[in-house]
């Protein structure tokens, strides 16, 4: 109790952190989930990401820019998490994401087939290493353009394309069929 003090950096004071959490926490958590495949870990990453936002916020704080910044920090945090020796020794990640999604009730055969194919694709993508999965998550799930994705991952456009190609080759090996972009 001797040394109780509140730490609020001057630059963080004008941030409406609660509004930002309401606006972006879901996206951050979904991104972290797709990276780590564990909902509990994704919550932890959320904490980490917003802590960083609060400690050292970016200069540009408009909605879309901030969202891109948050997603980038999320991916960085996930990479960092996967790299820690702690995680390698005491991994509690349950790979929930590889369990099947609940089927939306009885379907016509064609739709049931499409549903099965989606599930197979989802499981295959989630089984990719994070390095190849990151561009797919940002480009195909969060709908960022290739240029934006490359910039968010701090890689060149060429590198991004080659990663996507390598991902498709991996998926083809897993699914046994050609995979389009």
């Amino acid at each position: 109790m001797l040394f109780t003090f509140t730490l609020t950096p001057a630059h963080a004071q004008e941030l409406d952190i609660e509004a930002l959490i309401d606006a972006h926490a879901g996206a951050v958590k979904r991104c972290a989930y797709l990276c780590l495949r564990d909902e509990r870990l994704a919550e932890d990453i959320c904490q980490e990401v917003f802590l960083r936002l609060w400690q050292s916020p970016p200069r540009v704080r408009e909605g879309e820019h901030l969202r891109a910044w948050l997603l980038r920090v999320t991916i960085n945090a996930c990479r960092d998490y996967l790299r820690t020796p702690w995680r390698r020794r005491v991994s509690t990640a349950r790979d929930e994401a590889l369990t099947a999604a609940p089927a939306p009730g009885p379907l016509p055969e064609e739709q049931a087939l499409a549903f099965e194919r989606d599930e197979a694709l989802y499981r295959a993508v989630m089984a990719l290493p994070l390095k190849l999965r990151e561009p797919i998550i940002l480009h195909y799930y969060f709908d960022y353009s290739q240029q934006e994705t490359a910039r968010m991952l701090s890689i060149g456009d060429g590198t991004l394309r080659s990663r996507l190609t390598r991902a498709r080759m991996r998926l083809r090996a897993m699914l046994g069929e050609e995979v389009d972009t």
Binding site: F5, I17, V73
Partner: protein
């Protein structure tokens, strides 16, 4: 139907679209944030600090326990060696070496003596500075002495300003308005004596009653042996030719010390004698170096007057022109020789304190003379230092313990018994001085009563340094390498993390600290690293000494600039306000310098480094801290490594001519065996028949009679032993060492040092050199053998300690 990645959005959406932050998670994020350092962490830091302090205090040390007196010699031994040791009440009698002047008392102070002496030797009252009037004619004042220029009486010898300005000459002289009046240009002719103008020379002084003055002419600075600028002159012109290189003041009986130039003038050696007012020699000039000794005339605020001339004679000059000094002669200002001594301590200026150390015979014992040149304490000490705060350190030879140092008072009484192996030359200052109780001891601080008042911090620090010094070189290098490796690994691990986004500044912060730390480490290690055989430094040590200094300084400054830049950049993130940033930038270099200054390790380089650090940090702090959208460019990716490679190549290019590696001492072992041993006898007889060098070289190195000396030792081997030193030399460089010639050099340390004692016992040291050529990262032993005298060594441990100290000195690079 093909799979398409476009479907991934839809497929993933089924799994995660509804996913939101859980209420508990949101609560955790939005709760007011408080940070409280845990009590445990404070306790942890405190415990760590305690541990470090305890470790430092309990480091191994062979300091003797002073309280039981094991280190001090027996008093019986002392008395046997120094029979004349005076008691506090009994005063010693003068020795024969002293002139037969009866000394009234040895007690200090002797104000009456000093006053009488200074009266007898007073300077002449008729000495005048020569001035020049408005026409440029030299003159001196008739009635007023040299020191009374501006007194009212002296000013009456000049015309006043009104008189001058109203006269025609004055009006002409001060024609332009605002000209400053100078009375000394306008002397009244009846008050002064005008002197003749001497072409090409200037008057200095004139003695009115003697009727003689000193003139000087210009001599170019490189005049050398022909620099004879001084002559005597009188009212009719030059009295002597320009003969003298120096003339001092004339005394009441018309004598002055004067010098003729000599070939060794560069060393201050001239031919000194005394002349009369006609320029004739009263005493024959003697080669030597003259000190003028001024003393207070005894009154409280009295003036310092020239009291003695002390001439350190120089009877000979060696082949290279260096003077070889002989006895000291002390004269009074009129040239009467008062005292002769073989040596007078030059540690401090002679006669600067009440008593001055001297010795009557070369290599004889030391005593003290007072300011009246009486022998205050007769010569009986092995060494004698100057007095400071009423005490002086003297060395006394003791039985079996070598020379020990104690402190005596002004009457020669022993105030602090001889018990120290080393003392600080500079004596007491503010009531304390530094001493060592043993050869291997650290410096202790004692007060004037001899009590040990050393602070715990100083002891701990010295023990730490000693401990580090005592480690073999390869172990030290290993530790240093391990530390560097840890820092590097940690840095790499950190740097591998995300380099952008919010954590980039934090990463820079860590890098900034790491950079500062590594600079400090490198800086602290520089003195030893510069001489270490590490490959990187070897490149530098291959340079000649000037280039080496510049290269090391340049690299240090560049490092400091780079470290400062990173540190300043990281300060942008930690310090949001400008003034805190500025404070940090100024305080950090100051702290760095302070951290080196406290243990006494700072040099003039520290100021440069601190300034460069500050400049670098200022430059670094101008960079934006949050550059999360900046693209990492060519510069940061490639420029730094390129610069490093380039610098390495430059260093390599400089030293390419010197591809040989260098070996360094990494350990030493010794063994002792009697000379009677057949193996030893055989070794030395082989050495005698087949010497390792040519006959000429052996004779040159060890004397013409080395074979006779060896034979004499082999004929009577009883009591002699062979000391074998195995010195391990390791080549830490990547290059082979080709026939490195190494030899043992005896450290010029204090008498009490064990290596000195060992040196005294050496009877033959023909094998004090060896060739080694160890391969890269390999070791090779160089063995040295000495024949030493083992007689009188009752304590085997002493020799062990001596050799151990010798080996340790070797590893420290002192020997």
């Amino acid at each position: 139907m093909k799979y398409s990645l476009r479907d991934f959005g839809r497929a993933a959406g089924r799994h995660v679209d509804g996913m939101e932050l859980s209420p508990s998670g949101r609560d955790r994020l939005t709760r007011p944030r408080r940070r409280r350092p845990s009590a445990l962490s404070w306790a942890g830091w405190a415990a760590a600090a305690c541990l470090v302090i305890m470790l430092m205090l309990s480091l191994p040390l062979s300091a003797p326990d002073i309280s039981n007196g094991t280190a001090s010699p027996t008093h019986g031994a002392l008395a046997a060696q120094a029979p004349g040791t005076p008691e506090a009440s009994a005063l010693p009698a003068p020795t024969e070496a002293a002139p037969a002047t009866p000394r009234p008392t040895a007690s200090a102070p002797r104000a009456t003596d000093v006053a009488a002496r200074s009266q007898a030797l007073a300077q002449r009252a008729d000495m005048r500075f020569v001035r020049f009037d408005n026409r440029g004619y030299p003159y001196v004042l008739n009635d007023y002495d040299v020191y009374s220029d501006y007194t009212e009486a002296a000013l009456s010898a000049y015309y006043t300003e009104e008189e001058v300005r109203s006269s025609p000459a004055g009006r002409e002289y001060y024609a332009h308005p605002g000209a400053e009046f100078d009375a000394r240009l306008w002397p009244r002719p009846e008050c002064v004596t005008f002197l003749p103008v001497i072409e090409g020379a200037d008057w200095q002084y004139y003695y009115l009653e003697l009727g003689v003055g000193i003139v000087t002419r210009y001599v170019p600075p490189d005049g050398g042996a022909d620099a004879k600028p001084y002559a005597l002159a009188d009212l009719s012109g030059l009295r002597t030719d320009y003969l003298f290189s120096e003339i001092n003041y004339f005394t009441v009986d018309g004598r002055a010390a004067a010098a003729l130039p000599s070939a060794s003038s560069d060393w201050g050696v001239q031919r000194w004698g005394f002349i009369d007012a006609d320029g004739g020699w009263v005493s024959e000039p003697i080669m030597g170096r003259m000190d003028t000794i001024y003393m207070n005339d005894g009154s409280e605020d009295g003036e310092s007057r020239l009291t003695y001339y002390a001439l350190q004679t120089c009877p000979a000059v060696d082949e290279e022109g260096y003077p070889e000094y002989g006895v000291w002669r002390i004269y009074d200002p009129s040239g009467r020789e008062l005292f002769t001594a073989a040596d007078i301590s030059q540690l401090t200026a002679p006669f600067s304190s009440e008593l001055t150390p001297f010795r009557a015979e070369a290599d004889g014992p030391w005593g003290y003379i007072d300011q009246d040149l009486n022998i205050a304490i007769p010569p009986m000490y092995e060494s004698a230092d100057a007095f400071s705060e009423g005490l002086a350190a003297v060395g006394v030879r003791t039985e079996g313990m070598g020379i020990l140092y104690g402190y005596i008072g002004a009457r020669g009484e022993m105030v602090i018994e001889p018990q120290f192996y080393m003392v600080d030359w500079f004596g007491f200052s503010e009531g304390t001085t530094r001493v060592r109780y043993g050869w291997d001891d650290v410096w202790h601080t004692i007060d004037t009563q001899g009590n040990d008042v050393t602070s715990g911090f100083s002891l701990a620090w010295q023990r730490l340094r000693r401990f580090i010094d005592s480690l073999p070189l390869d172990m030290r290098l290993m530790y240093a390498a391990l530390l560097c490796l840890l820092f590097t690994l940690n840095g790499v691990r950190r740097a591998r993390g995300y380099r952008e986004g919010a954590d980039a500044p934090r990463l820079r912060g860590r890098l900034g600290w790491a950079a500062l730390l590594s600079l400090m480490l490198g800086w602290a290690a520089l003195p030893s690293a510069a001489h270490s055989p590490l490959p990187g430094w070897l490149l530098l040590t291959g340079l000649d000494s000037d280039m080496h200094t510049y290269a090391v300084a340049g690299i240090l400054l560049m490092l400091a600039a780079a470290c400062g830049f990173i540190y300043g950049w990281s300060a942008r993130e930690r310090c949001q306000r400008r003034w805190t940033r500025l404070t940090v930038i100024i305080a950090t270099p100051a702290l760095l310098v302070g951290a080196r200054w406290l243990p006494g390790a700072s040099t003039y380089m520290d100021i440069d480094i601190a300034l460069v650090l500050m400049t670098g940090a200022l430059a670094g702090s101008t960079r934006p801290a949050y550059g999360q959208y900046e693209v990492r460019g060519f510069a940061t990716r490639w420029l730094c490594p390129l610069m490093c490679v380039l610098m390495g190549l430059i260093a390599l290019g400089y030293s390419a001519w010197d591809w040989n590696g260098r070996a360094a001492v990494s350990g030493a072992e010794y063994s002792l065996s009697p000379l009677n041993d057949p193996a030893n006898l055989q070794y030395y007889s082989e050495l005698r028949d087949d010497p390792p060098l040519s006959e000429e070289d052996m004779a040159l190195q060890y004397g013409e009679d080395w074979r006779e000396r060896l034979d004499a030792l082999l004929d009577a081997p009883e009591g002699l032993g062979v000391l074998t030193l195995e010195v391990r030399l390791t080549n830490f460089s990547l290059r082979p060492v080709r026939d490195q010639f190494i030899w043992l050099r005896y450290a010029e340390l204090a008498d009490a040092d064990p290596t000195h004692a060992l040196r005294g016992r050496m009877r033959l040291d023909i094998n004090d050199w060896a060739y080694v050529s160890p391969a890269p990262f390999a070791s090779e032993n160089a063995s040295f053998r000495f024949i030493i005298d083992m007689r009188g060594i009752s304590d085997g441990a002493w020799l062990g300690e001596a050799v151990d100290g010798y080996a340790r000195a070797l590893m420290r690079g002192e020997a």
